[in-house]
Symmetry: C2
Subunit: 213 residues, 2 copies
């Protein structure tokens, strides 16, 4: 574990830090050595004072008139965000989206190590995706303990979302990443975050409909 | 086009409406005939008055002491959110995540019709995923026009995100769904929405780190 563990970062900061990292990684690729918060601010359209405040959570200091060392900032940011450590996760619901997430090797670059998939369909149970076993949902508790995964990715059909989440939490999952359109409820102390694909689609369609008038 | 086109809905409403739809669809599957906003409120933990306000945007009225007709509400909601019409989209960047999104047939159930993929890798150009052609990014303008797609899904490596977005907009894309960790800038009038997978991961890791203390 590292120094991030005793700082609960505000959500807006956690949303912005990956932007900075993406930009710093671009600079690093281009061979740029140092960067000021003013330059970061200009490139990604966030106030320089806000960037300085966000970066003050990190164990790094910029130098006056020079700024931050690019390679070091990239490393510290990625480490601070937890992207350099491996976090074990399971995928619950290996339908179209669940399978797609297991296929997405890019997530591993951000520290997400998918160790197992679960489904209730007999056709899927016992198969593998990218070498990862798909188990019967009935065996969730046993496999969860065996793999020691703490993150559960929820990609079941919406009708099973709450039941699946309950099983996950009862079996020791500590964080649920919800990809279903459902508002899943869990007990306190469980980390819950939703990626609302459907809300994003609804937003695009609504705004596009109006643009087209 | 339908009645939603001249209402720019607030983002929080667009975030909540898919929750209602998911819950109503569950009730429909269970054979439930009518539902009150109080019952929806209890199930998904949103204030009943807020639900009534959100639903007031729709062309549907609940009846006193009976509530809404479930089947009709499901239909009106899905239609209102644009999930029942087909919206043509292209995927720009057919790496791990881009390919995964093309594989995800579930998006079609929410009105997203992916008609083409684009990449710069010679190994990918000319191949097909789920019957969908992967084209050379050089041909973006021509294929965009041919397919008449208005939505561009951005899944390129972060170093190419801004360039790819610029090409998309210059060639007539009206909405960008950004899956890169970059803050992409576009001209006014372009609909821009980001699914920040990396920010969600950062949030999970940060909160988990603290839970584990």
């Amino acid at each position: 574990m590292n120094e991030t563990n005793n700082i609960i970062l505000p959500e807006p900061t956690l949303r912005r830090l990956p932007w900075y990292l993406a930009y710093i990684d671009i600079l690093k690729n281009q061979g740029v050595k140092t960067v000021s918060s003013t330059r970061i601010a200009k490139a990604i359209n966030v106030d320089a004072s806000l960037i300085a405040k966000d970066l003050s959570f990190l164990n790094i200091r910029g130098k006056t008139r020079i700024g931050y060392e690019v390679a070091r900032l990239a490393e510290v940011l990625a480490d601070f965000l937890g992207f350099k450590r491996s976090h074990k996760a399971v995928v619950v619901g290996v339908g179209s989206l669940g399978a797609a997430l297991i296929h997405d090797t890019g997530l591993a670059n951000y520290g997400l190590e998918i160790v197992a998939g679960f489904d209730t369909s007999q056709e899927l149970i016992g198969t593998k995706i990218r070498g990862i076993n798909i188990y019967d949902m009935k065996d969730f508790g046993r496999i969860r303990e065996l793999t020691d995964a703490s993150i559960g990715i929820l990609t079941v059909p919406f009708t099973s979302a709450q039941d699946a989440a309950d099983t996950m939490v009862a079996s020791g999952i500590k964080a649920i990443w919800n990809f279903t359109p459902c508002r899943v409820r869990t007990s306190e102390g469980i980390v819950m975050t939703s990626t609302s694909i459907y809300a994003h689609l609804a937003l695009i369609y609504n705004r596009l409909g109006n643009e087209m008038l």
